[in-house]
């Protein structure tokens, strides 16, 4: 059942240049890692899709990069503010993998803390790439992470023979899929609705348009 709920902000914390927005869960299912919620951005017409970063009891945490009007509005929220929230939506990562390695770039690391937790102990290895040491502060949220900074790329140090679960900018995902045909890749695109209504988030993958909110955002590499 698709129903937009209203929830309170519990807290807002800076993580490098990013913001961790903590929202009261109140009965919402956090879903599978890689799934996302549409968050109402104050003063904006359209909500913004955010994958779950952390799901401790009673909370949903979203790691947000303030790159545009909507994400800046979300980062400007304070404890006690209320917002509309719809989800969980889309398809997350398959967790039935034998030798997982998490491969992420920049704000693409957002779903990894929750993904790592759900994959269970021992924490899977993670290879995370950032453009600066400041951005790399987000890696502190991910257990067992190896950090590389530009100009080194995650694909330079990605271990072979693993089940790759990746999230990051499109060029990074394209590079990962060339090396790991069985990888699971979490893509992103601007979305208006998040539940298949607008057809706005269609992306072309191998010449085929896919609605990321319905068929993704996590898609098989091949």
């Amino acid at each position: 059942m698709l129903r937009r709920e209203r929830r309170s902000v519990l807290g807002v914390e800076a993580v490098g240049p990013y913001t961790l927005l903590r929202v009261a869960r109140g009965g919402l299912d956090p879903g599978t890692p890689g799934q996302f919620f549409m968050l109402e951005a104050p003063g904006r017409l359209l909500p913004r899709p955010m994958s779950v970063c952390l799901a401790p009891p009673g909370e949903l945490g979203f790691l947000i990069d303030p790159v545009g009007s909507g994400t800046r509005a979300l980062c400007g929220l304070g404890a006690g503010d209320r917002l509309g929230i719809l989800g969980p939506l889309g398809n997350g990562f398959r967790l039935d993998v034998e030798r997982p390695v998490l491969v992420g770039g920049g704000i693409g690391v957002a779903p990894f803390p929750y993904l790592s937790e759900r994959l269970g102990a021992p924490a899977p290895a993670a290879v995370l790439g950032f453009r600066s040491a400041w951005h790399a502060e987000a890696a502190e949220l991910v257990p067992n992470a190896e950090v590389v900074l530009e100009p080194t790329y995650v694909t330079d140090v990605m271990p072979a023979g693993h089940d790759v679960l990746a999230c990051g900018p499109a060029p990074m995902l394209e590079a990962v899929r060339r090396l790991a045909a069985r990888a699971q890749l979490a893509w992103e695109a601007p979305m208006a609705c998040g539940y298949g209504a607008c057809y706005g988030c269609a992306v072309e993958i191998d010449g085929e348009l896919k609605r990321l909110c319905v068929e993704g955002p996590v898609l098989a590499a091949a």
């Binding site: 909507g70 601007p190 209504a197 057809y199």
Partner: protein, 305 residues
């Protein structure tokens, strides 16, 4: 008064429960052949609305009637099919194919896609050609981006349309904050949402006077008050569009808000409010009793203030 969705703003197969709240469901526009639509990026938000350039993505008429229509029929909501094309023959082909399906209640001709010529003569030509191949009710969906929308509306009426859908989006452009390039891959896109509302209101208002046709009013309806205003301007039915993108439960919320708005102004039901703007005595706060001159002046002052 019926509440519908604007074409392309709700997918019945991904949000069936949202569709069941409607009085009729309007499909995404169907064309003769399958279309993948435009390349991404396809949507963008602006300060006053959203832009889309989806590009009539649809499975084509054959896959639609074979695969989609049976599933839509099971929802138990009357189905309106939005019909599109690039030539008169495209519209005829799709409409003719749909004519034999009793589960299709109404055809809405999308005569206002940015890729289609929008001159009134063409609207009349398309409506007349489709009229000849189907007995189903025909609604003509028009663009407000013309010098005089009543001219297009009259052309549709003269050609045999049974109703009007007012309005479609208007072409707009949004630029990237830093690169100053268009945000949409296609460049411009259709502007919907709050910016479209006064434009829709004007189109409905003027077409209500110009034609006898029932009108589905749409354009930025997000609250019960917005719904009430379109009814008052002359819409007989309403469609919700962009509001669905932030809340799939918009239909029931707007329906409840509209009931409250109607009660506040003393209308017994939505149909009583249709065309209220055009009543010579103007709206009063106490409908059903004789017009109170003082109250009328007071109401007018409020509206102007």
């Amino acid at each position: 008064m019926r509440l519908l969705n604007a074409s392309g703003c709700l997918d019945a197969l991904t949000a069936p429960e949202a569709v069941r709240e409607l009085d009729a469901y309007v499909t995404k526009t169907v064309t003769p052949l399958a279309r993948g639509g435009n390349s991404p990026v396809r949507i963008a938000e602006t300060e006053v609305g959203m832009l889309n350039a989806i590009g009539l993505a649809n499975p084509g008429i054959e896959a639609f009637v074979e695969e989609h229509l049976p599933r839509l029929a099971r929802l138990g909501v009357p189905i309106w099919v939005s019909v599109g094309g690039f030539t008169v023959d495209d519209y005829v082909r799709v409409s003719e194919r749909l004519d034999g399906f009793p589960e299709v209640s109404t055809l809405e001709l999308n005569l206002s896609c940015p890729n289609v010529d929008e001159v009134p003569e063409n609207v009349g030509e398309v409506v007349a050609a489709v009229r000849a191949v189907t007995a189903k009710p025909l609604y003509a969906k028009l663009s407000p981006a013309v010098a005089d929308v009543t001219q297009t509306a009259r052309a549709a009426e003269a050609a045999g349309a049974d109703g009007l859908s007012l309005v479609n989006t208007i072409r707009g452009l949004a630029l990237h904050e830093r690169t100053l390039r268009p945000l949409l891959a296609r460049g411009a896109g259709g502007l919907s949402g709050p910016a479209l509302r006064p434009i829709a209101l004007a189109a409905v208002h003027t077409c209500r006077r110009a034609t006898e046709l029932p009108i589905v009013g749409m354009g930025g309806v997000a609250t019960g008050r917005h719904a009430l205003e379109l009814l008052a301007a002359g819409a007989t039915d309403l469609a919700i569009g962009t509001a669905f993108f932030s809340d799939p439960g918009s239909t029931t919320r707007i329906r409840c808000e509209l009931a409250a708005e109607l009660a506040t102004l003393g209308f017994a039901n939505p149909d009583n409010a249709v065309g209220a703007t055009h009543e010579p005595e103007g709206p009063t706060l106490d409908r059903g009793s004789s017009v109170d001159g003082e109250k009328y002046l007071h109401t007018t002052a409020n509206m102007e203030g």
